[in-house]
């Protein structure tokens, strides 16, 4: 095989030293030439194992062949048959655990860069065409309420609107997009892209009601009583976990949700031009190993930190963050301390963080998740001086909506119990999908669940007598 075919066509990125101090997007995307060349690497396997590994079964070979033929618009359309948000997924999907993991070329060499091609095609379409709203189908007269405007809510709303139903999204925040706007930072997912997708969903006739906290402003039962024949709940996994170690309430300790919401949604990175403040730590420790931890660490760096530690209790191999983001973070100078776990946070006597005490870990027997369980090494305690600590150890289900919806069954973690194929919950006409059902997962899995549920909701609406 020719040498160039063995490796991924690299994607241009901002220089690590420069980008570590700005919030502009890190990855710059492929040019047309680069995209075509990368597409040429595809072996066009008949069985296309990549498609099986895609949670929404995009016709990957089909779109890559169109790229080879320089029919970029056709390629975009091909992807959109299955995935309404390719510009987003191309940027944030964990491709190395999905399509690219099973790529046959990847067995010996590097897999085809399917994610980068998806991104290229979506960006090309946005830059070169007017997004036309598809023709509106004949109205069915059925009304659906969608709670939450993250990837799951937006997907279900678009699908149901395309089937002729009248859809209203109720969103607690003052901006639509869920984690895509409050969690994932600008330098990884420009907000203009999210805004474009939200506008597209609105152009399908979907009504967006912001500042509605369902459970408080209005309840699910009231929505049903007001004439919505079905409700889809997509409120995400918005409850931040803390470690319950001493010192977690000192000033300077944040949940990743708070830190990222201040910076991304409230634009605290542009304080005082924007009103919301954020602590710009000089020495910052971020606890956790997922995308949330990477995003927090890299945001802290861009806010001007001199040194950012990432404390993670397992090893690099177990890190759940996207591979590309781990590489980016290391390149930017994030100091990742593997096999290290905080034991307490030390204060300065006036209530502010002074240091974080950690213990070294080693990997023991595998736990339920199949990953080897980290075990503390006695006597290995040490402290790291920091002035800001960010806890990014996971998010659970916010109990607000379930607790105000009698009859809605949840499991012991507080997630809504819903059928995997249809999203049907214990309440008639009420469906759920995304992180609120699965626990914190991925954009694409939330979209996949929403898409399946849209079909089930459509069937329900067209057959129920209500």
């Amino acid at each position: 095989m020719e040498e160039w075919k063995k490796h991924k066509q690299p994607m241009r990125r901002q220089d690590p030293h420069v980008r570590a101090r700005n919030f502009d997007e890190v990855a710059l995307g492929y040019t047309e030439e680069e995209a075509v060349q990368e597409a040429e690497r595809c072996l066009a396997c008949k069985k296309s194992p990549c498609v099986e590994a895609c949670p929404v079964e995009i016709d990957i070979l089909g779109f890559i062949e169109l790229v080879q033929q320089r029919d970029f618009l056709g390629a975009a359309r091909k992807i959109k048959e299955k995935n309404a948000l390719p510009a987003i997924c191309g940027r944030v999907c964990p491709q190395e655990d999905q399509c690219e993991e099973l790529c046959v070329l990847g067995k010996k060499f590097e897999p085809v860069s399917i994610g980068r091609l998806e991104r290229f095609v979506a960006d090309w379409e946005a830059a070169n065409t007017e997004t036309l709203a598809p023709e509106r189908p004949a109205p069915t007269g059925k009304r659906v309420a969608v709670v939450g405007s993250g990837p799951a809510g937006l997907t279900v709303a678009a699908d149901l609107a395309n089937l002729g139903h009248s859809v209203t999204i109720f969103e607690a925040f003052h901006k639509a997009g869920g984690v895509l706007v409050y969690g994932i930072p600008e330098f990884r997912l420009p907000k203009a892209i999210v805004q474009r997708e939200v506008e597209f969903v609105k152009s399908l006739g979907v009504e967006l009601r912001l500042n509605y906290l369902v459970g408080r402003t209005i309840t699910v039962d009231e929505l049903l009583a007001q004439g919505y024949q079905a409700v889809f709940i997509a409120v995400g996994a918005g409850l931040p976990y803390f470690m319950n170690i001493p010192g977690e309430n000192y000033n300077g300790v944040y949940s990743a949700n708070e830190f990222l919401t201040r910076s991304n949604l409230m634009k605290a990175y542009r304080f005082p031009e924007y009103d919301t403040p954020i602590k710009r730590g000089k020495r910052v420790a971020v606890v956790g190993g997922g995308n949330v931890a990477m995003d927090s660490a890299r945001t802290a760096l861009r806010l001007g930190a001199e040194h950012v530690y990432n404390v993670y209790r397992r090893s690099r191999q177990e890190m759940p963050a996207r591979e590309e983001e781990i590489e980016n973070a290391i390149e930017e100078g994030i100091d990742i301390r593997f096999l290290t776990n905080p034991t307490r946070i030390l204060g300065d006597g006036k209530g502010w963080v002074l240091a974080i005490e950690c213990i070294k870990m080693r990997l023991g027997e595998p736990d339920q998740s199949g990953r080897r369980r980290p075990v503390p090494i006695e006597g290995s305690e040490h402290t790291i001086d920091v002035d800001v600590v960010i806890m990014a150890i996971g998010n659970g289900a916010n109990p607000l909506l379930p607790s105000t919806t009698p009859g809605l069954e949840t499991n012991k973690w507080g997630n809504i119990v819903a059928d995997e194929d249809t999203g049907k919950t214990s309440m008639e006409g009420v469906y759920a999908g995304g992180d609120i059902v699965t626990g914190a997962a991925t954009v694409i899995s939330a979209m996949g669940a929403a898409r399946r549920s849209a079909r089930a909701i459509h069937d329900y609406l067209m057959t129920s007598r209500k």
Partner: protein, 273 residues
């Protein structure tokens, strides 16, 4: 003071609840107690103390202006029930949020002793409104310019020692005041509810910025509260956490070149949707 047209919040609002306001595109989300509401007219009343950039900015709004974002009602409503004899304390700006509690406790059949106080006469408000639903009203000012000279805690101490039985105390106001009231009632073991005002962002339970320690457990004030058992609250931690952004707040204030004298206006702002 603001009267805001917002039928969807007015319809659901209960005593003890609050909302979050964002004045304009660059504004922060600030929590404010719903001091009064009228479901039929679709209006609510907010009373605001101008302490920093966002509240000063609200102070310069005029009749008919629009608030960009308004979400609510938030937080758990006050526990309103028949307790018997209740003492309801509002200090400073806390007079506004104690008012709906006074009203509701009276409707629930309680014997209501209300205590309101401020630094000086000019900062007192709503004496008449509070009085209307109280069996007894005590007024205090730090400088003695109106009512008894002293703090509301002095009045609480007096009532507690004079009354043979007090079944419940609710205190809303500056943290230091709530702490002091809780100290007064701790000895006689009178159940005491306080309404906490930590710094908040979303106020929907998704950030944990509002966390407070209550009886050795961490709670999110925006969804688990804002009302908690005053004898279990770590007030010192709350005071500390409220000071997290003092430096930034000064910067923000300097940037906002508002040549403004603190006043109270009554006017109407509406918000869309």
């Amino acid at each position: 003071m603001f009267v805001v047209e917002t039928p969807r919040i007015a319809r659901k609002s209960k005593p003890g609840q609050f909302l979050v306001v964002r004045v304009d595109e660059r504004g922060e989300r600030i929590p404010l107690t719903i001091a009064d509401s009228d479901a039929e007219k679709g209006i609510i009343t907010l009373v605001i103390q101008e302490v920093g950039k966002s509240t000063i900015r609200m102070g310069v709004l005029r009749e008919g202006d629009t608030l960009l974002d308004l979400v609510g009602p938030l937080g758990k409503p006050s526990h309103i029930d028949y307790f018997g004899k209740v003492v309801l304390v509002g200090g400073g700006i806390g007079i506004a949020p104690i008012y709906p509690v006074v009203k509701a406790m009276k409707y629930a059949g309680n014997s209501v002793v209300s205590i309101i106080g401020a630094r000086t006469k000019e900062l007192l408000f709503w004496e008449d409104k509070v009085k209307e639903f109280s069996d007894e009203l005590l007024v205090t000012t730090d400088d003695g310019s109106c009512g008894h000279k002293g703090f509301v805690t002095d009045a609480v101490r007096e009532v507690v020692s004079r009354e043979p039985q007090v079944d419940l105390v609710v205190a809303i106001g500056p943290v230091i005041m709530m702490k002091a009231v809780a100290e007064v009632t701790r000895g006689p073991a009178i159940q005491t509810i306080v309404s906490l005002n930590p710094i908040m962002v979303d106020a929907t339970g998704m950030c944990g910025g509002c966390r407070v320690t209550v009886g050795d457990r961490t709670k999110f004030a925006c969804v688990d509260g804002p009302e908690f058992d005053g004898h279990l609250v770590d007030f010192d931690e709350l005071m500390r956490r409220r000071k997290m952004y003092v430096d930034e707040e000064k910067t923000a204030l300097q940037k906002c070149r508002l040549n403004h004298v603190a006043t109270q206006h009554t006017f109407r702002a509406e918000h869309k949707g």
